[in-house]
Symmetry: C2
Subunit: 244 residues, 2 copies
């Protein structure tokens, strides 16, 4: 019996990664003034810095901006000018201020699910930026609760399920990241609706989890989410009736 | 009847502002290589940049670091070297990694309050950094709930009280900021225990609220918190018996 449906925010409800990729491209263009880009593997170095800093910065645009500044200074051997570093700060602000554009059909899909189930928004990253995006999305009123978390792993989902007073077997999570939205929920005994997004940050691609698990439905677009949840609900009902 | 006591984190449970002030002093020292400090009003300019950026960055060390970088570039007319800007990033990391040192007597005071009342921790700022500090504090287990919020104003406290299912008249907040911990709670009809800290960020000092309100007890040190809450509980009980 499904009792609660969770939705991810970035790249599930609204476009996000595209804004980061524009910034990464501009970052590379700026560094191209100082480096031979063919040799420098700028993206790899930035990702390595970002991952090294996660333990202190967590996720989000402010941490990314500081990691860009650090990477730029290191890769140029401190030759980069203050004007170009200022431009990196401006790029970070641009990400923080970007408009919230919903994915096609998402409003109708979320509203349809909300008519059948209690729904919550579970999003990861910078508290302040995520709150601003939720507000700008115009979807906040559909959700029973909005949870902004620093990491989406099994222990976070376990804590949230306890707060929501729901068993994992009655919980479905909808999202675009196998690593953050689907794998930990399924591993706790829950269900997933996986909706891949055209762009995925390299860090989120690091998972062994395969989407063909019987507890996961994969959909191509938002309009297919309500049907996928209905199929899962039927399967969950069957499972609850089967003696174990 | 008091049913819930909230505690602030930074500079109420553990030292915080001192780490920021060390960074601000080092920031000024670095800028002194480029500027005549007597003229530059470096602290005022940094505070103005921080306040201007609050709308995008929210509170916390990552936003402060980006504001330092921006201020340094602007005040030096882009003359500051990348090595010195790297040093500012390192200063930000230093704040994020600082050890959590409890205020004297705070553990015993919080434990004493927790024996009488349900207690929650309500702290403002960067989600990731605040979670790390709560963990390092060793106090997490004493709290019924831990709420990390992006702003401490009336609407935030109103939302939290609804989630906690408590009336404002049954809620006491303990903290070092009249602006963020005491004024909004008292304005909603609640109670406050104000424990000033030796250092207060200029932004937090901006309030018209006076601590001599009859709903506020002012204490000098942690050991006085349980007694202050008892006095408030007695007063709240009287108020609940007085016909209005």
């Amino acid at each position: 019996m499904i009792g609660l449906v969770g939705f991810d925010g970035d790249d599930t409800l609204w476009h996000s990664e595209g804004y980061y990729q524009v910034v990464h491209d501009e970052f590379e263009r700026i560094l191209g003034k100082y480096l031979d880009l063919a040799d420098a593997r700028v993206h790899d170095r930035l990702l390595a810095t970002e991952k090294g800093n996660l333990r202190l910065f967590g996720y989000g645009a402010k941490g990314m901006t500081l990691s860009m500044i650090e990477t730029a200074i290191e890769l140029t051997g401190e030759r980069i000018g203050a004007g170009d570093l200022h431009r990196l700060v401006e790029l970070g602000k641009q990400v923080l201020a970007h408009p919230v554009e919903l994915l096609p059909g998402i409003r109708a899909a979320v509203a349809a699910v909300a008519r059948e189930f209690r729904i919550v928004l579970i999003t990861k990253g910078d508290l302040f930026h995520q709150e601003a995006k939720v507000k700008r999305s115009g979807l906040a009123d559909l959700f029973h609760r909005i949870e902004i978390v620093s990491e989406k792993d099994e222990s976070t989902y376990r804590r949230l399920m306890a707060e929501f007073e729901i068993e994992a077997s009655s919980f479905v999570m909808v999202g675009n990241s196998l690593r953050s939205d689907i794998a930990p929920v399924v591993q706790l005994g829950g269900w997933g609706v996986y909706m891949p997004y055209a762009l995925t940050w390299a860090h989120e691609r690091e998972t062994e989890f395969a989407a063909d698990d019987h507890r996961v439905e994969t959909v191509e677009q938002a309009s297919q989410i309500p049907g996928a949840i209905s199929r899962i609900a039927a399967r969950a009902l069957d499972a609850s009736r089967t003696p174990t």
